[in-house]
């Protein structure tokens, strides 16, 4: 280990150090001035971003004896993850304050979760990956149970914890099989071992692989390992849901790409079928069940499952185009997801969460601007051009078609038509119905501003998607 190792991991180490500072400083802050913790957390995120940019890898570097990787993929995912955690904190602040939940632990747990994500994103060995995953998962379990007097939150956290523990067990079991067959935990060495001895590509390895896929599916919330997701989305307080719905998806993407492509890329034929089944089921189940929901958080939960289907289908292709499409889709999806939960938070006030679809009735009369923003976000999620969600879908369909699966492409577009219905329903409630609720929206100026930027971003990105597209294509070439 030398200095270069530490420079590559500088962002994580900086983050960890600053989290400890925030944690200790928060002890001396009383509830009146809790906003100080918020600003310290934002400053922490700012410094982390700065460190990330300062230590940006030019090319792929593998450090710490092969267990840690820093490359363009990790760079973009980490920067975006930090940005979305900051967004989640900002949207959360006013909500927590008005609901008497403004505790320093929210920010500290959020930051620890981010640390877990960053470790996952940079993991180059199965054990590093597992460490990052558990750091993230434990933070999330606690965040879901954050409002300890709330029965649904507690139930959701319990469910998440138990199912998460089972999935972790499955994952570790899978890891042990992979280790047993290849004799290594490091992704590049696993890949090399399979190339060196093709006879390894046989049932014992596939058996381990199946368990890894279970872990991946659970993390993403793909069918049939999606059971926790709607309950957690609904049960968690909305800022926590926003947190879970945005940045961790980036970590899950890195998790999948590192294991399946970096490590087991040689087994594409084997894992492609498994991923396809999971993806198609997610697409169908997510879209169809979302239609039946009356709780908007739960509805967006099922919608997430459907979007995960798209991401996994892009990975299924096993081509650079597919990986670029998966990256593009994930990055753009979380912009719309974070914005949607942001609007739900905006509509909430003391003792009242705008959880039900019917709470959106007549929003256009109350606030035409935020109704417009929500409409942008919904159309983007539905994949209607010119919003960015359309280009995400376009990319994935292009990848699937160029890999020679026209049937899947048609299935995907038909599923999007089914999905369009429930997004349209939100717009219908906002624009076509009269609402009983006439309360004026309360939100501070910075929240309003950022939320507006968030909404406009899905349109602006849709009008100029070229640069992001080029960036994703370039990064996809650097994987492996």
């Amino acid at each position: 280990m030398n200095l270069a190792d530490y420079i590559s991991a500088a962002p994580e180490m900086t983050l960890l150090g600053l989290i400890c500072v925030v944690l200790i400083a928060d002890l001396f802050v009383d509830d009146e001035h809790r906003v100080l913790t918020f600003w310290m957390s934002i400053a922490t995120l700012g410094i982390t971003i700065w460190t990330l940019l300062a230590t940006a890898p030019v090319e792929r570097v593998i450090v710490f004896d092969g267990s840690y990787v820093s490359d363009p993929l990790s760079q973009i995912l980490k920067v975006t993850a930090v940005g979305f955690v900051a967004l989640a904190f900002l949207y959360a602040r006013d909500y927590l304050r008005t609901n008497d939940l403004h505790k320093g632990e929210f920010y500290v747990l959020g930051l620890f979760g981010l640390l877990g994500m960053m470790i996952m994103i940079s993991a180059n060995s199965l054990l590093t990956m597992y460490l990052g995953l558990e750091t993230l998962a434990l933070s999330l379990y606690t965040l879901v149970a954050f409002d300890r007097n709330n029965a649904t939150s507690a139930e959701a956290a319990m469910k998440y914890f138990v199912l998460g523990a089972i999935a972790s067990g499955a994952l570790l079991y899978g890891i042990s099989w992979i280790y047993g067959v290849t004799g290594t935990l490091k992704f590049d060495e696993i890949a090399a071992a399979i190339v060196a001895d093709p006879s390894l590509n046989s049932l014992p390895l596939w058996f381990g692989l199946a368990f890894l896929i279970v872990g991946i599916s659970f993390k993403f919330g793909a069918v049939p390992f999606h059971m926790w997701l709607p309950d957690v989305y609904q049960g968690a307080r909305t800022p926590v849901t926003l947190y879970i719905a945005s940045a961790p998806k980036l970590a899950a993407l890195a998790f999948t790409l590192r294991i399946l492509v970096d490590g087991l890329g040689g087994l594409h034929d084997v894992w492609a079928d498994m991923i396809m089944v999971v993806a198609v089921l997610s697409l169908l189940v997510g879209n169809v069940i979302a239609i039946a929901q009356t709780n908007i958080k739960r509805m967006l939960g099922y919608s997430t499952i459907a979007h995960v289907g798209f991401i996994l289908l892009a990975i299924f292709c096993g081509t650079d185009k597919g990986y670029a499409a998966a990256l593009f889709y994930t990055l753009t999806y979380i912009v719309a997801a974070a914005g949607s939960f942001g609007i739900i938070i905006l509509l909430s006030r003391r003792g009242f969460d705008a959880e039900n679809l019917s709470d959106f009735k007549g929003l256009n009369a109350r606030s035409p601007w935020f109704a417009l923003m929500m409409m942008f976000l919904m159309f983007s999620l539905a994949g209607v051009p010119p919003f960015i969600g359309f280009f995400g879908k376009l990319n994935v369909i292009d990848a699937v078609l160029s890999s020679g699966y026209p049937g899947l492409a048609i299935l995907m577009v038909l599923a999007s038509v089914v999905g369009a219905f429930y997004y349209l329903r939100v717009i219908w409630y906002m624009y076509f119905e009269q609402g009983e609720d006439q309360a004026v929206l309360q939100a501070s100026t910075d929240t309003r501003l950022v939320l507006s930027l968030n909404g406009v971003a899905v349109l602006a990105l849709g009008i100029v998607p070229g640069w992001l597209w080029a960036l994703c294509t370039q990064i996809a070439l650097s994987i492996r």
Binding site: N364, L401, A409, V413
Partner: protein
């Protein structure tokens, strides 16, 4: 800077920017307040200015070439070779002119009859106008698709917010039907991109494709365009959408959005998959004839005026698709392009007539809040000026010589005679059926004794309504009596299109 180089971009973006401006200005409850007046003035000003710019387009348009004119091309998404690529020829220019002509009339027609959030209403129409012009001038597959789908968004809101009682059902049906149709077109585009490495429509047209691919692509296109036209049996969204839409929405829907389907056939289906089109031409002709005859009978039985006009639209659009797909039955020689020309003229004419008919119903609806034929009777006694206009448009709808309705139908019937006597026989029934359902409605609404006190209390047209209907009446007669400028504009383009379709891609 040469203005003509950017004329298409100006036509597309000026109304969109105007629409955003309207949202910024907003409105208040008082129709007479200076803010409301400013908002309306901006709406009208933008659409009129757009119309004036489109007149410049007409002036500068060169009839003698089939090449794309006023071409603009700049890179948009380099990673997949998507271009911001615009251009017009003799097929798109008349439709752009129709769009810019009808939109200001819609704005005037909704001047003070829209009470709920008028700024959003006018803004939706302006943005819609820009997007529709975008569809007619896009020459890149993705750009085309973006405009094509984005168009659904304002229309979804127009029907949903300002529509009638069952507006939510109608607008969801409208959106999902058209969305379902178009996503398969997207898959076809991406497949063609895989074959050519570009989304350029001309590269699509030149790409060699085997028969299976052509058949599948044709079906994908057919679903997208048949829903839009709409063709039997996927027409059921139209009566619902028309009935529930506010007057302006019905006018735009009938006058322009239905034309998107016809335009799509000419711009995409025929040149990109000529052999597929030939293979399926029998199917399309059959469906068109069913639309003409069967839907004509359905129209006869309607009790609701808007529904009747909606069914009449489907029957008339059946003529358009019939004309477009006669080519292979006619064979080469003179008149090969006659069906296509007839279909194009019919599209423009139907845009004017159906728009006018919906405005007439809107005039009555504003006064009586009823669309039921049975609630009326003897309107001519209390509204003589209105009755004059309505009779004229009804005659045009029935295809009376001297009105625009006659020209297109006549051309298509001649072309179908060349193809097959029975095609012509069935197509010609529209002259009987069209006259029957339109004139019967006119008789029941306008003539006879004054039916009830409400009708007795009706006031005749105000100046604003009189102005809008006069302009439409003049244009219906102008196209009917002197169609040459319209036909000249598209002749060369259609000839070259016929040539292009003649070359098999196999």
């Amino acid at each position: 800077m040469d203005f003509s180089l950017y004329i298409l971009s100006i036509l597309i973006w000026m109304p969109i920017v105007g629409g955003i401006l309207l949202l910024v200005i907003g409105d208040d409850d008082d129709v007479q307040s200076s803010r409301s007046m400013l908002m309306r003035a901006v709406a009208l000003g933008t659409t009129v200015l757009t119309f004036l710019v489109s007149i410049a387009l007409y002036k500068w348009f060169d009839n003698s070439t089939a090449a794309m004119q006023f071409v603009e091309r700049s890179s948009w998404i380099p990673a997949i070779d998507v271009w911001y690529y615009l251009g017009v020829d003799g097929i798109s220019t008349p439709l752009i002119l129709l769009t810019t002509f009808v939109t200001p009339l819609v704005i005037i027609a909704g001047w003070d009859s829209i009470k709920v959030r008028p700024a959003q209403y006018f803004a939706a129409f302006l943005i819609l106008e820009g997007l529709m012009i975008g569809v007619f001038s896009a020459l890149d597959g993705i750009l085309f698709y973006v405009f094509w789908e984005a168009m659904l968004v304002p229309m979804f809101l127009i029907i949903g917010v300002w529509g009638g009682e069952r507006r939510i059902y109608a607008t969801l049906k409208f959106f999902l039907y058209t969305f379902l149709g178009s996503v398969l077109m997207l898959v076809a585009f991406i497949y063609l991109y895989g074959q050519t490495g570009s989304f350029d429509l001309f590269k699509f047209m030149n790409a060699p494709l085997d028969m299976t691919a052509q058949k599948l692509i044709f079906i994908a296109f057919l679903l997208a365009f048949a829903v839009k036209v709409p063709m039997f049996p996927v027409h059921t969204w139209l009566p619902d959408a028309h009935v529930e839409a506010p007057t302006g929405g019905s006018v735009i829907l009938a006058a322009i959005m239905l034309k998107m389907g016809g335009y799509g056939f000419l711009r995409l289906s025929l040149p990109i998959v000529p052999d597929g089109s030939a293979y399926f031409s029998g199917l399309v002709i059959t469906l068109s004839l069913i639309a003409v005859v069967y839907i004509g009978f359905v129209a006869l039985m309607q009790k609701d005026m808007k529904k009747l006009i909606a069914y009449s639209s489907i029957a008339h659009m059946g003529f358009v698709t019939l004309g477009f797909f006669l080519l292979w039955s006619v064979g080469s020689g003179t008149g090969a392009g006659l069906g296509i020309t007839g279909g194009m003229v019919q599209m423009v004419s139907h845009g004017l007539i159906s728009g006018a008919m919906f405005l007439c119903v809107g005039v009555l609806y504003d006064r009586m809040h009823s669309r039921q034929i049975a609630d009326y009777g003897g309107v001519a006694n209390t509204m003589p000026k209105f009755a004059g206009f309505m009779v004229l448009f009804a005659m045009a709808n029935a295809g009376l010589p001297g009105t625009s309705g006659f020209v297109g139908e006549f051309m298509v019937i001649i072309a179908s005679f060349k193809a097959n006597f029975w095609f012509a026989f069935l197509a010609a029934t529209t002259l009987v059926l069209g006259a029957a359902y339109t004139l019967w409605m006119v008789k029941r609404v306008l003539y006879g004794e004054v039916a009830n006190n409400n009708v007795a209390a009706l006031k005749d047209l105000n100046q604003r309504e009189f102005f809008v209907l006069t302009i439409l009446a003049i244009s219906v007669l102008a196209v009917g009596l002197w169609p040459a400028p319209l036909v000249d504009m598209m002749n060369v383009t259609i000839e070259s299109l016929v040539q292009q379709i003649g070359h098999s891609k196999l």
